[in-house]
Amino acid sequence: MSPPCHKKAGSAAPTQRFPTCAIGKKPYWRSPPGAATHAALMHRFANPARFLKIARPLTQWLFWPGLALILIGAGCGLLVTPADYLQGQTVRILYIHVPAAWLGMGGWTGIALAALVQLVWRHPLAAIAGRAIAAPGALFTAICLATGSIWGRPTWGTWWEWDGRMTSMLVLLFLYLGYIALAQASARDGQGGVSHVTAIFGLVGAVNIPIINRSVVWWNSLHQGPSITMRGSTIETTLLWPLGLTLLGFSLWFGAIVLMRMRAILAQNKVEARMQRLARG
């Protein structure tokens, strides 16, 4: 399997701001003549400069409103909402647990989509996005498992049981760790993205996402069934509304983290390209 594009060693013009990576003779972000509009639109953002122009202000717009929503949602979830009729105060862990589960699964969905774009359209930013998503996705999956365990002790009477939902979520954490290990192993290609093998792993791992989602429906499980479905919510409105705030807040924050990490990887690429130019004299 060949790398997505080859660096033109030694031929980079001194004014070039980013490492050159060419498909044929053209820079990789130039779409080929006559390409479909969606492809043209996608390749517009393959130019790191154009991507950064949007990513820089967008990071701020995701980070601060996200943080505000998290603080308001978590604060109201702790202080304003009533206790549950059965679980009492432990119900409040919901406002962290559910967004963490959502982002753990959403993160892998993002990795799979990035992998598809990387493998099919050879989009260099998609490879960088995959790497950027992995660590926060793994973190939120771990938060989901930890908060679930803390909630399970007083509610079910156990820290951990090998039921379908918990086991499949633990598998997701291991998938993230495997992905991160593969991404680290392929970090030396100099483009900052993940290798083809890593992308394929990201695509295959997506099988686990519907399994996590359906685990409480297919199999008898200790974990309760879905509360929020197409037919409505079995969480009473007075308990539900802070969950909407924290879900949106953590999602915005996740976006901000991913953009920050993508920018950091692009900056790293730039540093490495400059170091190489200096080394060549």
Binding site: L119, W156, S221, L222
Partner: protein
């Protein structure tokens, strides 16, 4: 067909076949991956006495009895189709009560009573404040009604 389209078709076919394989495996696991037996499963399959299993269902209202020794409880577990008598000696979790879900670990004795060595309370998907307890919940319409 351009190489790009070939890759797209290949990736989508691969993805579809992997998800298909995953779903087939998951449906084949249906019984093996179940966390517990429901009383109807026990009746249908006939679990032999002494085999360690988990039994899950609802604690039948009015069936919970405390034995004279103070630590042994007897109750019936139902899934709406069958019911099974069970006993447990020890400290039950706080959420264990009549009319709510339970998962019991243990084995059947010769008389068909489930002797539990550990009890787990199963929480359902309903969350509501204390003030609403005792209201009637309609599972199909998701509506709450006040019961007199």
């Amino acid at each position: 067909m351009k190489a790009k389209h070939q890759r797209l078709v290949l990736a989508l076919v691969a993805l579809a076949s992997i998800i298909g394989a995953g779903l087939l495996a998951a449906s084949a696991l249906k019984d093996e991956a179940a966390y517990f037996y429901a009383p109807a499963d026990v009746k249908a399959k006939g679990v032999e006495p002494g085999r360690a299993i988990r039994l899950g269902g609802m604690v039948v209202k009015g069936s919970l009895k405390r034995a004279a020794d103070g630590v042994t409880i007897r109750f019936n577990v139902t899934d709406g189709k069958a019911r099974v008598p069970a006993t447990f000696s020890g400290i039950a979790p706080d959420l264990f009560k009549e009319g709510s879900g339970v998962v019991a670990e243990g084995a059947f004795d010769d008389k068909g009573t489930f002797v539990a060595t550990n009890l787990l309370a199963k929480h359902d998907e309903r969350y509501m404040p204390r003030e609403l307890e005792g209201m009637q919940y309609n599972e199909t319409t998701h509506e709450m009604k006040v019961t007199p």
